[in-house]
């Protein structure tokens, strides 16, 4: 055992044991028991405390907390099809803390906006965060795009939505958004506008997971758009609104009824608008 090789062996065994211990204890039972997934999320102090206790390293904190939120949401997505209601609070709190730690940090606005609008319908909070982001980084035209979309799609405030789209067009120098803004003011073109904005968002997203999410949404909207056009054709041809989608199919305007990628079913309401039972969120 005094030999060099012997000592090396012992060192090696100890290192392996070290790894082994880490591996063995990496089990849910080792962690605090009786705590729900929802409570397992990091507890934040108020944003100001988080800021000054970060000294010079607020940027690292912002990154780390955002990562924490993503990991948390990722874990939840394994258990739930759609983000569960109790996850809303962690999202809002993380967003508040992170935007205080480093108001320039991009990802958090994107993540918070995505969840808050589509999954929780809390468009006001999402917009407040985006406005805050624009205060610090007015050159990020994509925030205007989000704001425009949020206003018109969720809040049905078309004028404001159009205003933000014009802003996005001006800051980005891309005329297509101004074009969408003008269409927005006509009720018939709104799905097309939504599709246009989503396409812009997809173009500006490099994260694969998020891209896929947006593409699913785009696919659903394209389904709606297709059906809306069909309804229009039906109305022109027969002078009345179709009662249901089957009528469109029977009239030979569409070949089949597109599938809602969220698992819902498309239908036509009394006013002739195409809707889906899923409301564009995953159904349980």
């Amino acid at each position: 055992m005094k030999s060099k090789g012997g000592r090396l062996l012992i060192v090696l065994i100890l290192v392996l044991l070290m790894i082994g211990v880490n591996y063995f204890f990496d089990k849910p039972q080792v962690r605090l028991k009786g705590r729900e997934e929802a409570e397992r999320f990091r507890l934040y102090a108020n944003p100001s405390f988080e800021k000054w206790s970060g000294f010079e390293f607020t940027f690292l904190k912002a990154f780390y907390y955002t990562l924490g939120l993503r990991v948390y949401m990722g874990k939840l997505s394994e258990e739930y099809l759609a983000p569960p209601p109790f996850a809303k609070d962690p999202i809002v709190r993380t967003a508040e803390v992170v935007t205080r730690l480093c108001p320039y940090y991009y990802d958090i606005y994107y993540i918070a906006n995505g969840y808050l609008t589509w999954d929780y319908g809390d468009v006001e909070t999402a917009n407040r965060l985006l406005e805050k982001g624009l205060e610090y980084t007015p050159e990020r035209w994509i925030y205007y795009l989000y704001l425009g979309f949020n206003h018109f799609y969720f809040l049905k405030d078309y004028e404001k939505g159009a205003m933000y789209l014009v802003e996005a067009s001006e800051v980005s120098g891309k005329p297509q958004y101004a074009h969408l803004a003008s269409k927005l003011l006509y009720a018939s073109g709104r799905t097309e506008v939504a599709i246009g904005i989503l396409k812009g968002m997809i173009e500006n997203t490099r994260d694969e997971g998020w891209k896929r999410g947006l593409e699913t949404r785009l696919k659903a909207l394209e389904g709606i758009y297709e059906l809306e056009k069909a309804v229009e054709v039906f109305r022109e041809r027969f002078g009345t609104l179709p009662q249901n989608l089957e009528e469109l199919k029977n009239a030979g305007i569409i070949k089949g009824i597109p599938e809602d990628p969220y698992g819902g079913e498309f239908y036509i309401d009394e006013e002739g608008n195409v809707r889906t039972t899923s409301n564009l969120t995953y159904m349980d």
Partner: protein, 266 residues
């Protein structure tokens, strides 16, 4: 001046012989390994996130290493009575303070730009792969100057504590305390201006004001985020921050000299 330079030289030599460069080199290479990981964790503006990490790492590594170095060298100077010997050499007492200061700052300077130079190719390379934000290489190195001023100020504070007390543990807590207060007071003062802050008891407000004007405002040198995002920093405020740092450092250093002149070195 010759004697100051001589002492500065010996300080740098000592610092280099502590093998700090190897440690930093290895730590930096390990840190660079994290770049691809960060890259995949980032959704937007990769160049900025990477630059933010590199600058935070530089900041952290330099602070830790300098704290270790200054305290370690001061500790041997004091505990093993080397200081007695050194000030019996043909130098003025103030030469010792200035020499040590210059030596440490010069070493920190090499260290900072060494780390920045190692990290910059990696950040630049990965920024090229997803160039969705600009990478300001000028700002990247300009931050080094701000970090250097911060380190210089902290070294001066360490020397001040060395002149005040003969116990390194006291100086260590002193420097750490100044660092913490220095980085938080700006935020606290900000709080005082809010509604809740206004309603605070007069006494607390007075204490905060006094503390604020004694301790250095280190938050002024934390320009990392501003630099990576190319934000909120005009030439004038940059210049004033640096001027503030230099002036405060000089004053602390002079205070250290005045106290050190009459210090009994046991």
């Amino acid at each position: 001046m010759k004697r100051v330079i001589e002492l500065a030289r010996i300080t740098v030599k000592q610092a280099i012989k502590e093998r700090s460069f190897y440690v930093i080199l290895i730590a930096t290479l390990l840190a660079v390994l994290a770049v691809p990981v960060l890259y995949s964790f980032t959704m937007f503006e990769v160049p900025r996130v990477l630059a933010g990490f590199a600058l935070s790492y530089t900041n952290f590594a330099v602070l830790i290493l300098m704290l270790f170095l200054v305290m370690n060298l001061s500790q041997t100077d004091l505990d093993r009575k080397t200081l007695q010997y050194v000030i019996s050499l043909p130098i003025r007492r103030r030469d010792y303070v200035f020499g040590r200061f210059l030596g440490f700052v010069f070493f920190a300077c090499i260290l900072i730009f060494f780390i920045l130079a190692i990290t910059v190719p990696f950040v630049a390379l990965f920024s090229r792969m997803r160039p969705d934000a600009p990478f300001y290489i000028g700002y990247y190195f300009l931050y080094g100057v701000f970090l250097l001023i911060e380190v210089a100020l902290l070294v001066a504070i360490a020397l001040l504590f060395l002149s005040l007390t003969s116990r390194t543990i006291v100086s260590m807590f002193g420097v750490a305390g100044c660092y913490i207060v220095g980085h938080t007071m700006d935020e606290v003062a900000e709080f005082l201006r809010t509604g809740t802050g206004m309603n605070m008891p007069v006494f607390s407000k007075a204490v905060i004001q006094v503390v604020r004007y004694i301790f250095p405002n280190l938050a002024l040198f934390d320009v990392k985020t501003a630099f990576i995002y190319g934000k909120g920093m005009d030439g004038m405020s940059l210049f004033l921050s640096l001027l503030y740092g230099v002036l405060y450092t000089v004053i602390v250093l002079l205070l250290a000299v005045v106290l050190f002149e009459k210090k009994e070195v046991y």
